[in-house]
């Protein structure tokens, strides 16, 4: 009796909170037929938003991946003073509100910011332009790869790398042939979560973007613009694309968790 009641409560709670919103996105997007859905993407501003989101992710994800591997390598393989401080600082962006994450770059590079005058003299725009969007997105997705790799590499230990080096292998060879095969699933896990957040970030990007249609609107910002125009079909079409990305991310993530035999938060 208790069992049935609790399962029912769980399903109703998740139904209203998770399944209804996801359902409404796909029903609203595809409810008027696939032609209407496809027609929404003929709009040039929508195309520009998709391209900008892809471009941003293509810059941010590799950069944060390289950072994550570097940070995990020096933290897991070496002992140095201030290590726990470094780990805490890496997680910092997760604690900061997305709006504050955008604000800090405006204070640095905006017209009245620290470097604002210099940038203006040299005719470089960062805020209300693509570089600002890339910076703000990098900030919010900064910890994702590192925080997957650090505990994984600490747990794996140094023995195999030390053996390889002692036997005469070079540093790069050791990384690609000894370390990488053992961390690849964890690395992929961090990369897909980083990518999902990079493509879906709203708050931080909203502050620095300036909302110029066709130029500085990413997909999430374009959803807001279409929503404010009461162009619901278009808003839901773009939303369905991002929902699809979320579903694919979740599937890969679940498969990786089964593969690694662990569950992550």
């Amino acid at each position: 009796m208790m069992r049935v009641l609790l399962i029912a409560v769980s399903l109703i709670f998740l139904g209203g909170l998770l399944f209804a919103p996801l359902g409404v996105v796909f029903v609203s997007a595809f409810g008027n037929g696939i032609e209407t859905w496809l027609a929404s993407f003929a709009d040039s501003d929508t195309g520009a938003a998709i391209r900008l989101t892809l471009l941003t992710a293509a810059i941010v994800v590799p950069l944060n991946t390289v950072f994550g591997v570097c940070a995990a390598w020096c933290i897991a393989k070496f002992e140095f003073a201030g290590k726990s401080m470094l780990i805490t600082l890496i997680d910092l962006p997760l604690a900061v509100s997305p709006v504050v994450s955008g604000l800090i770059y405006v204070l640095l590079f905006g017209a009245q910011g620290w470097f604002g005058g210099w940038l203006q003299d040299h005719d470089i725009s960062i805020i209300f332009a693509v570089p600002g969007i890339v910076l703000a997105t990098s900030f919010v997705t900064f910890p994702y790869v590192a925080r997957e790799l650090i505990p994984l590499m600490q747990q794996l230990g140094n023995d195999e790398e030390e053996a390889a080096i002692t036997l005469g292998a070079g540093g790069w060879f050791t990384f690609f042939h000894v370390t990488l095969p053992r961390i690849r699933w964890g690395l992929l896990y961090g990369v897909i979560l980083c990518n999902a957040r990079a493509m879906g970030e709203f708050g931080a990007v909203s502050v620095v973007s300036g909302h110029i249609r066709g130029l500085t609107n990413t997909m999430p910002l374009h959803i807001e613009a279409l929503y404010q125009d009461y162009s619901m079909a278009g808003a839901f079409a773009v939303a369905s694309l991002l929902s699809l990305l979320a579903v694919i991310t979740l599937i890969i993530k679940t498969l990786l968790e089964w593969r690694m035999g662990t569950r992550h938060r």
């Binding site: 570097c70 879906g200 708050g203």
Partner: protein, 280 residues
């Protein structure tokens, strides 16, 4: 390098440490310093006037009130969901378990748009609530629901492993000694899970306080009524009042640090609890 404590045969410390700290410094620490300096550089009376402005105070009340309510809803229902997933076997359990993380993967603009559509007066759920006089979309209740959605996985994912590790024999011992199921739950199970529940609560609350994306869609953004603090920062920036935006930003950053500290203390408490139980 002097600060290296142990010598190692493994190469690459200099380059990886150098790149990691440079990237961290340039991307995270320098911009955060700019915010703190901007806030600290303000005249104190002006700073105080900005952060205690009635409109700002109304936004704190709404942001904290809705976040607190959402986190409370989540510890009740999140606990039930975690309990169901750990203790019961039913068709679709693995699917439900996987989909719990959806709010981590779903862009907040999508969840905001979708929740607004579901809870609007003509929406799937809203149409049944409207006749009862319950207004969700464009009202504080809608903000609470959006914050419940984004906080939910934090509670489930911290309670779930703690519940899995809870030794069953303690419960069986309590039952054998004549304790009722309710007594066993409140006096045996709940105290053991308290650190996990509180950690989940704090994580969900901290995430909710900073949330912006989904709220812009569902809130209606009316000053003094449905205007959250992050939105107020954006409004100040739109007015080119960088100093005021920085002042409110500093308040939010300070709150983030307090939350981070609380989460670390709670997690340390949880670890001590578990190691204490094992030692016994």
């Amino acid at each position: 390098m002097r600060w290296r404590v142990e010598r190692s045969v493994i190469p690459g410390f200099g380059i990886t440490f150098g790149f990691a700290t440079f990237f961290l410094g340039a991307l995270v620490l320098l911009p955060l310093t700019a915010l703190v300096m901007k806030g600290a550089g303000m005249d104190w009376t002006r700073f105080f006037a900005v952060v205690t402005d009635p409109r700002a105070l109304a936004s704190y009340r709404l942001t904290f009130g809705a976040s607190l309510l959402a986190a409370l809803i989540n510890i009740v229902f999140g606990f039930i969901v975690a309990w169901t997933l750990v203790r019961y076997r039913f068709p679709g359990r693995r699917f439900i378990d996987a989909i719990i993380d959806m709010p981590f993967a779903l862009p907040t603009a999508v969840s905001g748009l979708a929740l607004t559509a579901v809870f609007a007066g003509n929406g799937w759920i809203g149409q049944y609530l409207e006749p009862l006089g319950i207004k969700v979309a464009y009202a504080p209740l809608g903000i609470t629901i959006a914050l419940t959605l984004i906080g939910m996985p934090f509670v489930v994912r911290t309670v779930q492993p703690a519940l899995e590790e809870l030794p069953r024999d303690v419960e069986e011992a309590a039952a054998t000694l004549g304790a009722s199921p309710a007594y066993t739950f409140f006096r045996v199970i709940l105290p053991a899970l308290a650190p996990a529940v509180l950690t989940g609560f704090t994580l969900a609350f901290a995430r909710a306080v900073g949330e912006y994306g989904s709220i812009t869609f569902i809130a209606g953004n009316i000053p003094y009524k449905t205007e959250i603090t992050p939105l107020l920062i954006i409004i100040k920036l739109d007015e080119y009042d960088y100093a005021a935006a920085a002042a409110i930003g500093c308040v939010m950053l300070a709150i983030s640090f307090v939350m981070l500290l609380a989460i670390n203390l709670l997690q340390a408490w949880g670890r001590r609890r578990i190691s204490g139980a094992v030692r016994r």
